[in-house]
Symmetry: C2
Subunit: 122 residues, 2 copies
């Protein structure tokens, strides 16, 4: 048994844990996914309109939404033949807002906002 042990920083990261960390960051490692999130941050949107606003094909958007869905970053609800997507919750919204705003600060590397990231995974 033995509980996972609150690994303070005293050992090399396990491969399994490193994998999980990398997977989350990879989700945000695509510019088009960020653009999609940026549209959703303005309010719920149909796939079709989403595609138009980010200038991608509907298919490409749909594939990306699948990824964001399985990561629980967006949710959706159907209405007739339309499907409306939204940011899953305020954590995701804060994540987008914080990272985005941090990048607006001039003279700095691409910026982020870590508290939001923490929340985004809950």
């Amino acid at each position: 048994m033995s509980s996972p042990a609150p690994s303070s920083i005293s050992e090399v990261l396990s491969y399994e844990k490193a994998q999980r960390m990398a997977e989350f960051f990879s989700l945000l490692g695509d510019p088009n996914r960020w653009r999609i999130l940026s549209v959703l941050a303005l309010g719920e949107t149909r796939v079709r309109d989403l595609a138009e606003r980010v200038d991608m094909t509907e298919s490409a958007v749909s594939h990306q939404l699948r990824i964001l869905r399985s990561a629980r970053m967006v949710s959706y609800h159907k209405q007739g033949r339309n499907v409306f997507y939204t940011l899953q919750d305020h954590h995701i919204f804060n994540l987008y807002r914080d990272v985005s705003e941090h990048l607006d600060e001039p003279e700095e590397d691409p910026g982020l906002a870590a508290d939001s990231i923490a929340e985004a995974n809950e």
Copy 2:
């Protein structure tokens, strides 16, 4: 002219900005880079020892260090024929620590810590 304008969240993210955001997250989107950072979080380390501890070839480690270097996440100093690498600064250390600890919390998705991420980019 016209200053960049503190883009509040009212428009679609520009492609250029989305790109920068994605690039930063991509840096942390590889498990081996996390493992390397985890070793460096324990103290400065030679490339050779680094390779041994994360179980990678020296060459592979060297390639990854090149990426981390150009992202200013690690720094180094030579001593004879050895090259010692360290985390660039406490921001990077905090980033690693926070994200790592967040992941230790049971029953949650891969976790992160956004304030550290913000700092890590300065």
